[in-house]
Subunit: 195 residues, 2 copies
């Protein structure tokens, strides 16, 4: 059930053969998370590549004041994890937990890298994902450089409508770098446009 979604994704995004899909499946483990359960906790080392097949998780830091800052969300067919910890082998600054009961496919670092070496089509797909992730984060940086609270929210609405009624509003605020109160006010204002 869980691997179905993942293998369909791979087929859609690449030319990986059915035979190679079996190799990938052999290295995949299914991870179930209940709502609020951690996938990764600050201070732990992250050792996987993770793909969400069901549900929704968030990646966030907690600052000295105890305020959470959401780095990103991941729903079905999105990847998640902490690349920095994965690459460096150092403890992560991030927490990842589930916003809903969720299912993920995990592939540990070593087997994953082996799969990439063995299966060029897989490697190519993975690289394309990395490239698009990078572009997306550059884009997000632009929003911080140039947009007001309201503009950031309106752009979020357009870009991620799937997340609107799935993620608590306060978390969207956190993702946008504003307070829940500000987001609430921004929503009120932008409902009645100036006449």
């Amino acid at each position: 059930m869980g691997f179905e979604v993942f293998s369909q994704y791979i087929k859609d995004k690449s030319q990986v053969s059915d035979k190679d899909l079996l190799l990938i499946e052999a290295q995949s483990q299914l991870k179930r998370l209940r709502k609020r359960q951690y996938l990764l906790q600050e201070g732990e080392v992250w050792r996987f590549n993770a793909f969400v097949t069901k549900g929704c998780v968030r990646t966030y830091t907690v600052d000295e004041k105890g305020i959470e800052h959401i780095q990103n969300f991941a729903i079905e067919n999105w990847w998640t994890g902490d690349r920095e910890s994965l690459l460096s082998g150092k403890p992560s600054r991030f927490n990842i937990d589930a916003l809903e009961d969720s299912e993920l496919i995990l592939i540990a670092k070593q087997p994953f890298d082996d799969l990439c070496k063995k299966i060029p089509a897989f490697s190519g797909m993975v690289n394309g994902i990395l490239e698009r992730s990078f572009i997306a984060s550059q884009d997000r940086i632009q929003t911080f450089l140039s947009l007001s609270a309201e503009e950031k929210y309106l752009q979020f609405l357009k870009k991620y409508p799937q997340l609107i009624n799935r993620v608590p509003q306060a978390m969207i605020a956190s993702y946008l770098g504003i307070t829940p109160e500000t987001l609430s006010r921004v929503r009120r204002e932008s409902q009645r446009p100036k006449p």
Copy 2:
């Protein structure tokens, strides 16, 4: 002269053979930019991979009010360009211009991708760069989520001391997402710590 820096960089970062280095050199073109000269102008399609061997360039957008928002800087041994336009083939939203007289190595997309296919060590290096770029941009997003103007500046000081007396202060402000006036005040405050 220009290619020297690039080939030294490749040797430091990878196991590319001298023979393969010649292949790379064959596809490289040297581009000289005078101060203020554009490497890329908004609306153009970006078709290269670019490596700075001398000088300093910046990547930025200009909003409706005419305000510049600096996406990043690149000095010696840094890469630059617009990956989004390169990947999509669409016109770029960015401008890139030189802050000093500069020299870059350009390799057009097609030859570059061919080199990656032919030279696994080169491909590996390029991928590592992409991975680290992604991590760096995730890190920058965190600064926008959690830091004040002053904290962002202090972190910039630590992280990029090479840029401090090389890039006009107003541009650093733009990079941090604050106004030049605010940066000036932040600097004054942070010189006299609280007694």
